[in-house]
């Protein structure tokens, strides 16, 4: 009897260990966990370049390619914006099907007008969205995007932002197609998008 109990408890201990490992693993990969409601992305409501309210509903019927970044970002953000600009060029006429969107995770410094000026350096078809802390936090949460302020030592209050850098593709029905890692070669990304466009249209 005690032997069976021992085995039973051993099994319980094993199960506890397994579940906590899975949970920990999930906890370490907070990015790429997009909240889905009835198969669709969670709504967001942000402020556009003319200070107008822009929600996800605005883009129904179009593909969205979203990226979260900030204009003071010296390395990753310009590199990713270059990728998107080159994808738009590679797509040619088909680029009208896609709305690339840059959402700031640094609303303190990035006004909608500044975002517009910044993005014009890459491709003016990229739309910059911002808003107050609350709106930005909700949009980021919907896409499982993580960000945090990183103060710079001896800089009198200056900071960088650590942030997730995936690209999120949302189909014209508001369904998440998939996240991409940003270092996909642009030519490859354009081709992947074309295939997605075609599959969706044939549906």
């Amino acid at each position: 009897m005690s032997r069976i109990r021992l085995i039973l408890w051993a099994l319980v201990a094993f199960a506890v260990a397994a579940v906590s490992t899975i949970t920990l693993y999930r906890g370490q990969n907070p990015a790429l966990q997009v909240t889905v409601v009835d198969g669709r992305i969670k709504p967001f409501s942000l402020i556009g370049p003319g200070n107008q309210l822009i929600t996800n509903a605005h883009f129904r019927g179009k593909w969205m390619l979203l990226f979260f970044g900030y204009t003071h970002c010296p390395d990753i953000c310009p590199t990713t914006m270059l990728t998107i600009a080159s994808v738009l060029n590679d797509l040619g006429d088909e680029a009208v099907k896609l709305q690339p969107i840059f959402i700031t995770i640094d609303p303190e410094r990035d006004s909608p007008a500044l975002l517009k000026d910044y993005l014009a350096n890459f491709d003016s078809r990229i739309l910059g969205l911002g808003g107050d802390e609350q709106r930005v936090a909700e949009a980021a949460e919907a896409f499982g995007v993580f960000y945090r302020k990183q103060p710079i030592d001896n800089s009198d209050g200056d900071y960088y932002m650590d942030h997730s850098t995936a690209l999120y593709l949302v189909d014209p029905d508001g369904r998440l197609a998939r996240p991409y890692v940003p270092d996909v070669p642009p030519g490859e990304l354009a081709e992947k998008l074309r295939v997605r466009f075609r599959t969706f249209e044939e549906k």
Partner: protein, 152 residues
């Protein structure tokens, strides 16, 4: 009396001795393909990229960067941390003997912070790199448009 060829040989020996005693001359370090992006306004940040080659027979270490245009300049590396990308300071960047290290987007860069005035494409930014062995190495970094992907 010494013969001319003896003087030449003696000089050569002395030269070899100097080289052996002090293997890292500033001339061993060379910087090529330097570029940095324009900023969108005063007070902005930029990153400088370049290739640093070490022709010497001993490794050298980049320990610091200064530039008159910015409040701060540091060597950084972009790294992934729990699904987030962040920048970490690299206080010592080793340049292997006979090798090179490339600072390029998504990897190492010279982070240039608190740039006093807006940097515009066509500007040139003077920078001083300090190495443990080679000492100070001055370079000029051309500024390219914000939307450029290389030195052009």
């Amino acid at each position: 009396m010494f013969k001319w060829c003896e003087i030449k040989a003696a000089c050569a020996v002395v030269l070899v001795l100097i080289l052996a005693a002090n293997p890292a001359f500033a001339a061993d370090i060379s910087v090529s393909q330097a570029w940095m992006r324009a900023t969108i306004g005063a007070g902005g940040n930029s990153a400088a990229y370049m290739t640093i080659a070490n022709a010497g027979s001993a490794a050298d270490v980049l320990t610091g960067v200064t530039t008159p245009v910015a409040g701060m300049a540091d060597v950084h590396q972009t790294v992934e941390d729990n699904g987030m990308m962040k920048m970490e300071a690299v206080p010592k960047l080793e340049i292997p003997a006979g090798g090179s290290v490339s600072l390029s987007p998504g990897g190492y860069h010279v982070m240039v912070m608190q740039v006093g005035k807006k940097l515009t494409a066509g500007d040139t930014v003077p920078m001083t790199l300090t190495f443990e062995r080679a000492g100070a190495v001055d370079i000029d970094v051309p500024v390219v448009p914000l939307g450029a992907s290389g030195p052009g």
